[in-house]
């Protein structure tokens, strides 16, 4: 069993290294195939491990010692328990599909080999993150995914917007990592170890205030990685990267690492329900906040990115309210249909020659049947219509909110569900229905490669049927996650809730279709609605990026400039130059000693003699005076 663990963990690394060998060469097909093949191996190993864990066992190994200094002992240890095997399955399935998809998507890209190297490296880091059995390993995986995300967002590094977005993502992540590090330090200081089992056993004995701070700091780390407010601006800008990257990283894996952290650390959060309430409230706020920004956006990938942000809010609501298994379930289901949405968007992008404005598309269902079906079904799953996967997970979260008497959160989430349905189908309607506005721009779209569509199909299937795994999944994870059942008190309320939610969502979908399926013009900024205050506010993302730029980026840039010009140039460089100058000038001045004149030389000889004898004398006298 341990063998499968190591295969699942290291196969992506091997793929990454293999691809890295060719990273400077032009595109070679075998690189993509090898990398995808290794990913598939990892998936198979994870599946074997899943069956093993389903039968009730856990695999826990220690590969080697990393640090053993004093009281600190940190090994390279890995554990495959119920929670991590679920994450492993999600990661490997989505990664394999994305790898296969990328073979077709990055077909004409010069950096084909480099892309697979980064992509597989990312998967490796993610696997380290979810399979690690201590907080230090988690942090390594955390940083690794941050780094690979930087490399992948800024993949087309010649584009300045891409590099800027990559830096923004990485820097925001790092700011949050500071919080996480403090949390980890606090954990070590108070419990003496970073191993999950030791920490969670000890955590109950700590004073509540310490536990609260630990929970807060760890959540700050999760905020950065999962793009919760106020560290959310990087997620939308991260769409500069290639679409497979968005599918893998910003839908299914990296952004869910924050949720994974909270789920994994559930013994800590169980002790501090107040922090949990805060997390849940923040999650609900983000859900609504992101959905509102997606309503008016005209960038296809950004809409889907805001959708991700919104769903992350859902996950945090569940986790914050103590329903960890619900959060994990939604994570799983969301990964499938969101990745499918992104990959479909990639197809559309390629067909429309990288055009992202859905208003410039339209009527594509005639040309791109496969993508149309996939994106529509994915959006249905996202909206939460029975019997697709989204229904089971999202409705469960709504139930949690209701049952726990957090009616405000419940209302917010319900409203967001409606908004989600609206903007998802706004997108679908604009792209695939209505007049073919793209003809105005002379674009000739065509469907993606057959194998790409075939590759995406597992996700489609999973998005449809994942709801049926609920029971199996529940039995599985309840072994280590708190068992919280949510029963609405009366059957009536339950059915009213469920049916009501469905009707609300369907109404939103219908509204979207009615408004957008017959759109026939490209808005150019002059219509009344576009100039209304609400529209402008949403369009500019509540002016938050601008605020960050004015308050943080610009002053910091000024500070850096001052530090460069005043301090670095004038002080540091001047000092170094000064030292060199002194030596040079000394040399020049003492050059006159060597003027070739014997008389002068003799005089200098006597000077030297005097100096040396003085020194000898002084030292001898001093030595005698001290020693005697």
């Amino acid at each position: 069993m341990e063998l499968y663990l190591y295969i699942a963990l290291f196969a992506p690394l091997v793929g990454s290294l293999y691809a890295a060998l060719f990273s400077a060469s032009p595109k070679s097909q075998h690189v993509g195939i090898v990398a995808s093949g290794l990913l598939f191996t990892s998936f198979v190993s994870s599946a074997i491990l899943l069956s093993y864990v389903l039968s009730g066992h856990i695999v826990h190994t220690e590969m080697m010692t990393w640090m053993a200094t004093g009281d600190l002992y940190i090994p390279f240890g890995f554990v495959v328990d119920q929670v991590s095997v679920v994450m492993m399955m999600v990661v490997t399935i989505v990664s394999t599909v994305v790898h296969i998809y990328s073979i077709g998507y990055m077909d004409h890209d010069k950096g084909f080999n480099r892309f697979f190297s980064w992509l597989s490296a990312f998967v490796f880091s993610m696997m380290v993150l979810v399979m690690s059995d201590n907080f230090a390993g988690l942090f390594i995986g955390w940083e690794g995914v941050g780094l690979c995300s930087w490399g992948l967002i800024g993949f087309w590094y010649h584009k300045e917007s891409a590099t800027w977005a990559a830096n923004e993502a990485f820097i925001m992540n790092r700011i949050a990592d500071l919080g996480m590090l403090i949390g980890i330090f606090l954990l070590y200081w108070n419990t003496g170890s970073l191993q999950y089992d030791v920490v969670f056993a000890e955590i109950g004995n700590l004073p509540l205030v310490v536990t609260t701070w630990i929970g807060i700091f760890l959540f700050i780390g999760a905020m950065g990685k999962s793009a919760q407010f106020p560290l959310h601006t990087w997620l939308a800008d991260a769409m500069e990267g290639p679409t497979p990257v968005s599918a893998l990283i910003h839908a299914a894996t990296m952004v869910t690492a924050g949720v994974y952290l909270v789920v994994r650390a559930n013994p800590i959060y169980d002790l501090i329900p107040n922090v949990g309430i805060f997390i849940a409230s923040l999650g609900a706020f983000v859900a609504l906040f992101a959905a509102s920004m997606a309503l008016v956006n005209r960038d296809m990938k950004r809409i889907i990115a805001y959708s991700t942000l919104s769903q992350l809010g859902y996950m945090f609501v569940a986790a914050g309210l103590g329903a960890y298994w619900v959060a994990l379930f939604h994570l799983m289901a969301h990964a499938f249909f969101k990745a499918l949405l992104f990959l479909g968007a990639g197809n559309v992008m390629h067909a429309m020659h990288d055009e992202l404005d859905p208003f410039k598309m339209g009527g594509l269902r005639k040309v791109m049947k496969g993508t149309f079906i996939m994106m529509t079904l994915a959006s249905v799953a996202l909206a939460g219509i029975y019997p697709f996967a989204g229904f089971f997970s999202k409705d469960l979260i709504l139930e949690v909110g209701f049952v726990e008497h957090h009616y405000v959160i419940y209302t917010v989430l319900l409203l967001t569900a409606g908004l989600t349905a609206f903007y998802s189908f706004r997108l679908v309607a604009l792209i695939f229905h209505g007049e073919e506005r793209y003809k105005l721009f002379g674009i000739h779209p065509h469907e993606a490669y057959k194998f790409m569509l075939v590759g995406m199909s597992p996700l489609l299937i999973l998005a449809i049927i994942a709801g049926s795994f609920k029971m199996t999944y529940y039995q599985l994870v309840i072994n280590i996650l708190p068992d919280t059942q949510y029963h609405v008190h009366s059957e009536m309320t339950y059915w009213i809730m469920t049916i009501g939610t469905q009707l609300f969502v369907i109404a939103a979908i219908a509204f979207a279709y009615k408004k957008y399926s017959n759109w026939n013009s490209v808005p150019d900024g002059t219509s009344k609605m576009e100039n209304s205050f609400g529209y402008k506010l949403l369009w500019n993302q509540y002016y938050i990026p601008k605020f960050y730029e004015e308050v943080f980026s610009k002053p910091y840039a000024e500070l850096s400039k001052i530090a460069w010009k005043q301090i670095d140039l004038k002080i540091v460089d001047a000092t170094v130059d000064g030292i060199a100058n002194i030596i040079y000038k000394t040399g020049e001045n003492t050059r006159d000693i060597q003027n070739g004149n014997l008389s002068t030389m003799l005089r200098w000889m006597v000077v030297g003699l005097v100096v040396l004898i003085t020194l000898a004398f002084a030292f001898t006298v001093g030595y005698n005076a001290v020693g005697a």
């Binding site: 050059r591 000693i593 060597q594 003027n595 070739g596 004149n597 014997l598 008389s599 003799l602 005089r603 006597v606």
Partner: protein
């Protein structure tokens, strides 16, 4: 009054100083050699005096060897000086600066 070691050493000092002044002052190479001889003689006096007052013969041996060395030094020095004179026709220190650094 009694002549002690100190007197001899003072004398040696004075002669050594004279020699040093000569070494630093003289621009004529031949005169420079003279000053060097004075230095050596001053130290010879010091060695002999110490040898006498301590009762050790080592000082005299030292002085003896110094004389031998001085002799050979003069031979070679003058030989080199002659060669230089034949080449350049002057033995003025201030004009000998081809070794300028």
């Amino acid at each position: 009054m009694e002549v002690t070691l100190t007197h001899y050493l003072v004398l040696s000092t004075i002669l050594f100083a004279i020699g040093l002044i000569g070494v630093m002052r003289r621009k004529n190479l031949l005169m420079l050699f003279f000053a060097t001889e004075i230095l050596l003689n001053a130290t010879n006096i010091a060695f002999a005096a110490i040898s006498h007052y301590i009762g050790d013969l080592s000082g005299q041996m030292f002085a003896f060897f110094i004389i031998a060395i001085a002799a050979s030094e003069v031979a070679i020095g003058l030989g080199l000086l002659i060669v230089w004179y034949k080449r350049t026709g002057k033995i003025d220190l201030d004009q000998m600066n081809s070794m300028r650094g």
